[in-house]
């Protein structure tokens, strides 16, 4: 009897303990996870910093001091390069390890390993696009440079030194929730992280869409709706800049793009087309202090943890502070005591698609003029959580990988004979990380430009200011020299005429130094005027933010203060509304509005065009605009083929100048519609839609509550995300904050004898959801506050703003 009792309770206890140690579906091992000593509670640090004042680490050459200020920005003081980047890797991992690994997994197409088969197509797409291929090419080149090799190795050693101190209790909480462990960091992972940046900023094109539109519209109509250049553009490099060089000659083949058949590949995720930024510099002649001021705010997805990690790096020859991307050594956007620089994306079509004609079923050869070229075949393996591994065969051509083929995204493609190879600048070895290293150490214009020439991709408009007084703007990147129209459409891979010929020499990239007007700005608009001797094309040039910025910078006169620049970063003036609303109001038939609709309309009449959170007018305008825009371009709403709408700027241009254009006629009706009909219909819909929203939500549709900005955790865990953040601004506005996307890092730097800088981002320095520093900057960011940044001249300065100092010692 007592034996039976013992056996039963022993058995039951054993099974229970075992069950609580295992993962079931999405539920982590309950016993392990809830154990307050080692489970998730261990990560609940609140305002405390959970690390030792002295840490002994293997491989360090000398002592390193890491001082954290009250924003948890680490200020790293090292005695040599190796220790500096070692410490940067170490402290970035301390705060952001899970993010670094997750994002490199995502870049490398390894998400199925964590979340299962639902993500397999995403993973296959990453590999097929050549993310790993490009990262490997970059790394191979990087390791040939001794300086960069040392930097990458040091950073890797630092991250791994941190990882090796961890066991389950110290793991970031996401590892505990998803029940896996961090793997060692490698230099390839840094290259992958860089590849991800390239993909984010230079990873979209409309080649297939353009081909389909050409087939639908024919050339004249296509050029009218999708012009390469809009009237009254103010390019990044001001009009009138002289191009004193002889362009490299390229052969323009006698080709007219003619598209008969519609083409399709798939609807796979693409980067947000609003990935962009603002930057500007004003010269001392325009500032109150007489010294230049630089401002920059990159617009990216809002995520927890944030894409930016702010840090200061100090060692012999270097003392730089700014935003870094976790996983990549160095500072990406920042300043030192002599210079400051800021980046905005410089869109230019550097991604082209080629239709490949294989000669046989094996796909071992493809046609190229009268030759047959050999392919290479790579088999990619995918681990999938909860099921067996999968392999995918990718065919490589001299252009690049065949992304879409008979196996991808579905076997449907077999019928379509789709074989599209991707030629992308992101596949080429990039030396941009070397550029960061050099730029971080530059003291003046010449040193900066010497370092910047290594920056090849993703192409950026680089704003520069030096304490000595120089200001400059340069469109920097590696750009293929194209003949007019090349790469705008899907191209024939069997005809060598379509191939890229040459790269624009670096010294012919567009640039301007110390302009007379005393300021320079960029906001992802067209880079140059039509006199620039190379063909410049992108489907996505912005057309409003730069105008507002230039207008404000001209108006501000010559007593500009850093505070003015912060105010301009927060500027919510909606130039798109100012340009479109008068036309919309003028052509609207008031007599057809009900009394309530007229009241709503009055709100718009009285509006000052600011997208402020506590106004209802912006909601009304934005909803009306979006309904109208969708009605106007109903002819391109067909989802069965890749198509896209003409740009907002061109839509407004057509509304103003061609009100009788056929685009206003609805395809779904037999009657002929005009702009005024669309305006009335869309206004009435808008009114109805917003009244319904009001009833459901039981609150007024003020812009702040209606638009609901949110910051999403990278693993899309809702409780780790923040919702309904009220922040001024919107699409095409200087304060470019839309739902999940916008001003991801706001920086203003005033140079001079002493450099003063301000900055903030929607997030916090810690990636730990259990830390106060996880989201401590969010509320102030939403209010438009800029924090003064602590820039330490030496390790002994400014002790009062530090909250914790740690010494890393060689073990």
């Amino acid at each position: 009897m007592k034996v039976a009792k013992f056996i039963i309770s022993f058995f039951f206890t054993f099974i229970l303990t075992l069950a609580l140690s295992l993962q079931f579906g999405q539920v982590p091992p309950i016993g392990k996870f809830f154990d307050p000593f080692k489970g998730f509670m261990r990560n609940a640090t609140g305002k405390e910093l959970d690390f030792d004042p002295i840490e002994n680490l293997p491989g360090l050459k000398n002592q390193v001091l890491i001082a954290h200020d009250s924003l948890l920005i680490p200020h790293i003081f090292a005695e040599n390069d190796y220790d500096l980047y070692y410490a940067q890797g170490y402290i970035t991992a301390v705060h952001r390890l899970w993010q670094m690994e997750f994002q490199t997994h995502a870049a490398a197409g390894r998400i199925s390993e964590l979340f299962g088969g639902d993500y397999l197509n995403y993973d296959r797409f990453q590999r097929r696009k050549g993310m790993v291929y490009g990262a490997r090419n970059t790394l191979k080149e990087a390791l040939k440079n001794d300086t960069l090799k040392n930097v990458l190795q040091a950073y890797t050693d630092g991250v791994n030194a941190y990882i090796s101190t961890l066991s389950y209790p110290e793991f970031p909480v996401e590892y505990k929730l998803m029940n896996y462990s961090p793997e060692p960091w490698t230099p390839l992972k840094s290259a992958l992280m860089f590849e991800m940046l390239q993909e984010n900023l230079n990873g979209s094109d409309m080649d297939l869409e353009n081909s389909n539109l050409l087939a639908l519209l024919k050339k004249d109509r296509f050029d009218f709706l999708y012009p390469d250049r809009l009237p009254n553009s103010q390019p990044v490099i001001p009009t009138g800049t002289q191009w004193n060089f002889k362009p490299v000659p390229i052969d323009t083949p006698a080709i007219t793009f003619r598209q008969e058949e519609m083409v399709s590949a798939s609807d796979l995720p693409a980067p947000d087309p609003d990935n962009g930024s603002n930057n500007w510099v004003v010269a001392g002649s325009k500032t109150k202090s007489g010294n230049p001021i630089l401002a920059n705010d990159p617009h990216l997805n809002f995520n927890f943890p944030c894409i930016w990690f702010v840090n200061q790096l100090n060692a012999p020859e270097i003392n730089v502070l700014g935003g870094s991307v976790p996983g990549i050594p160095g500072v990406f956007i920042g300043f030192n005591d002599s210079i400051a620089w800021g980046l905005t994306n410089a869109p230019r079509d550097a991604r082209d698609w080629y239709q490949i004609s294989f000669t046989d079923e094996d796909r071992s050869e493809y046609l190229y003029d009268d030759k047959r070229l050999k392919t290479q075949t790579v088999v990619e393996h995918f681990k999938i959580k909860g099921s067996a591994d999968v392999a995918d065969t990718i065919v490589l051509t001299h252009y690049g990988p065949v992304v879409y083929d008979r196996n991808f995204p579905t076997s449907e493609n077999k019928k379509r004979l789709t074989n599209f190879a991707l030629r992308w600048i992101g596949h080429d070895p990039s030396s941009s990380m070397l550029s960061s290293y050099k730029v971080n150490r530059a003291h003046n214009y010449n040193e900066f430009m010497e370092g910047l020439q290594y920056f090849d991709s993703p192409a950026q408009n680089v704003a520069f200011a030096a304490a000595s007084g120089d200001i400059a703007m340069r469109v920097q990147g590696k750009f293929p020299a194209k003949w007019k129209g090349q790469g705008k459409f899907l191209m024939d891979g069997s005809n060598s005429d379509f191939d890229w010929q040459k790269i624009i020499p670096n010294n012919q990239n567009a640039q301007v130094l110390n302009p007379e007007k005393g300021f320079l700005s960029s906001a992802n608009q067209i880079p140059v005027d039509s006199a620039y001797p190379y063909y410049v094309y992108d489907f996505n040039y912005e057309h409003f933010r730069y105008k507002r910025i230039n207008q404000r910078l001209s108006e501000l006169g010559n007593k500009i203060t850093p505070q003015d620049m912060m105010t301009l970063q927060n500027d919510a003036y909606n130039l798109r509304a100012a340009e479109s609303l008068p036309v919309m109001m003028d052509s609207l038939d008031f007599s057809a509005l009900s009394a309530e609709e007229s009241d709503a309309f009055d709100l718009l009449r009285k509006w000052n065009f600011n997208n402020d959170v506590n106004l209802a007018a912006p909601t009304l305008y934005e909803t009306w605009w979006s309904n109208l825009y969708n009605l106007i371009w109903d002819e391109f709403a067909d989802k069965s083929w890749p198509l896209y709408y003409p740009s907002v700027a061109n839509t407004i241009y057509i509304m103003k100048n061609y009100p009788g254009d056929s685009c206003f006629d609805q395809t779904s009706t037999t009657a002929k519609e005009y702009l005024s009909d669309l305006l009335l219909a869309s206004f009435k819909n808008t009114y109805k839609e917003l009244e319904e929203w009001k009833t459901t939500r039981n609150e007024d549709y003020k812009w702040g509550s209606y638009r609901g900005v949110y910051i999403q955790h990278l693993a899309r865990l809702k409780p780790f995300s923040r919702y309904d953040i009220a922040v001024n601004g919107g699409k095409n506005i200087v304060a470019a904050n839309k739902e999940n996307h916008g001003q991801s890092w706001k920086m203003v730097v005033a140079l001079g004898d002493n450099v003063n800088a301000w900055g903030i981002y929607p997030g916090g320095q810690s990636g730990n959801p259990g830390s106060y520093y996880y989201d401590n900057m969010v509320d102030d960011w939403a209010k438009g506050v800029h924090y003064p940044l602590l820039f330490m001249k030496s390790r002994s300065g400014d002790r009062e703003r530090l909250i914790f100092s740690q010494t890393l010692q060689p073990r």
Partner: protein, 123 residues
Amino acid sequence: MKFILKIIFIAALSYAVELFLPWWSVVLSAFLIGILIPTSGFNSFLSGFLGVGLLWLIFSIAIYNRSDGILATRIAAIFQLNQPVLLVVVSSIIGGVVGGMGALTGSQFFRLFTKEEKKSLYN
């Protein structure tokens, strides 16, 4: 008295081994103390339940307070509990149940080696 002592011993040993061993070491602790201080079945379960459960509860509350409940609130939402306090309670119950089962098994193990008192039909 013996009961209270047993609870204290289970909590103390659990605390000590938790610092070095995985979470299931609390089951072993309760089991060991269950052997060393045997009590009747239910009594034994309760001592393990309270020993480990209270240890986890107190520890959780301390961390919760120190960290302003930031993480507990977020994790509670992941498990669809609307009160972070519930999360603390759930975690102590989990600790309590496994602790109780460990102690009970310990007592029963001890009993394997004791002679059952034979009840005589004559007295």
